[in-house]
Amino acid sequence: MSVEVAGTGRAKADGPLKLAVPRGALLEGTLDVLDAVGIDTAAPRGGSRALIFPGEEITLVTMRPSDVPIYVEAGAADVGITGKDVLLEQSDRVVYELLDLGYGRCRMVLAGRKGDERLGEAERRLGMMRIATKYPRVAERHFEANGHQVEVIEVKGSVELAPLIGLADGIVDLVATGRTLEDNDLEVREEIVECTARFVANRVAHKLRAREVDELTAKLREAVAR
């Protein structure tokens, strides 16, 4: 009768709440917010290579931002923080998005080479643009919604390379300051969506550990409102 028939990942509802913390660009902002709500972040700040930092009430588990929805959906982490870009790309994962934390603000954009008419011309002539991206599903949804026909090429590394040496006409990528685009002679052609860090929860943890999850959500809301 229920529609989700996902796997059977195990998670324990006892012990400290497990919080998935994103490494990389969101790490600094995340640790600052955790400090503000009274969670000890000295250990993860210490440059340790450890991945898990146990605490009295909350255990911090560090991981790639794009892995956060997987761990939280399965209940391996009870709650987590990751970027909206990751949540949009993995929109089929069942996680509860409880709070916009406001930091880590960046834009998902369509970009192309400066002065290059190809994004327009390729589409006019061939009816098809080639777009390289690390966010194939976000890109496909965006162009489909706007009636553009595109061939989306998924790449893992520096997307900026693709239009420079002819793999693609343009890229869809995250832009924070715009410096990487500038350094590679690329420019923003279209803004797709603005992304910030979000606080998410596992669905079962949200029910079975309601008090703890609500308290943490309230504290985070207060901290980011300041």
Binding site: M1, S2, V3, E4, V5, A6, G7, T8, G9, R10, A11, K12, A13, D14, E73, A74, G75, A76, D92, V94, Y96, E97, L98, L99, D100, R198, N202, R203, V204, A205, H206, K207, L208, A210, D214
Partner: protein
Amino acid sequence: MIHPIPPGTRDVLPDEMRELRRLRLALAEAFEKRGYGEVATPAIEYDEVLARGDGRTAGSAYRFFDESGDLLALRSDMTLPIARLVASRYANVEPPLRFSYLAKAFRAVRPQRGQMREFEQVGVELIGAPAPAGTVEVIEVLEAALDVAGLDRAVIGLGDADLYRQLLAELGVEGEARDSILARLATHDLVGLEAELSLQEGISDEQVATCLALSQLRGGNEVLEQARAIGGAAVERATARIGETYEALEAKGAAGRVQIDLGLLRDLGYYSGAILEVYDPALGHVLGGGGRYDGLLKRFGLDLPAAGFALYLERVHIAQADGDSGRAEA
């Protein structure tokens, strides 16, 4: 030689099969003891018959033509086949009707997600018994099933499917906007929900905050009072419906593991009134769910209220094994 099987299917070997058999037997007996006779229906049905239930989400993922060109479908749950069975074979029988099942069902899977294409559901259908008594009975049978499986840590979430439909109607939100807001409530995307509600004309900031707060209310009886304090006719009606069910359970001493949850919203189109979800600390996914679907039988030509639940047998088994090992450690 290794011969592959499709992703989302699996072989079961004797050790597990023995445990599953004990579990199935215990559940079937618990249902039978409460008057829920077991039924079996074909795994394949005519597509147009199943599509009567709900074309949008419960539709079968696997459809094919038979040798005479008819479109057949593999069932995706047991609620629709039993609705079909009742309408065809029990139309002239005095209700209420009680049925149970232990049956395989089939759903589409997304690659690399560990989802099962073929899975076993156990559950009951109570047809012809309106709320609240019918809902209370179904919850009691669900508790009995959790008890015989030994899942003493499991929690049953109790919500109301009509709450937000009626609340949005009260606020004058209709059409696409309404569907989009309900979808965000169902996925619990609170950030998107707030943005979507704020876009609506004629909804004050206070009403947006009300909606958000409402969706976060879950717990015991006190939750209903908190909700009533928020106010509005839709909230009043929904809390009255939930309260009636909850108080009847309390009177029977059966409310202990029921969590009232005003944020509960399942995305199957056929639910109305009470909705249920089952959680166990051993698993990050729900064990199962159910509720009332008073309009469903009408789509099959028989106007009777109905309620039921289904549990995923494999997940119940995992939770059972986890509970056992926990007890062994203690």
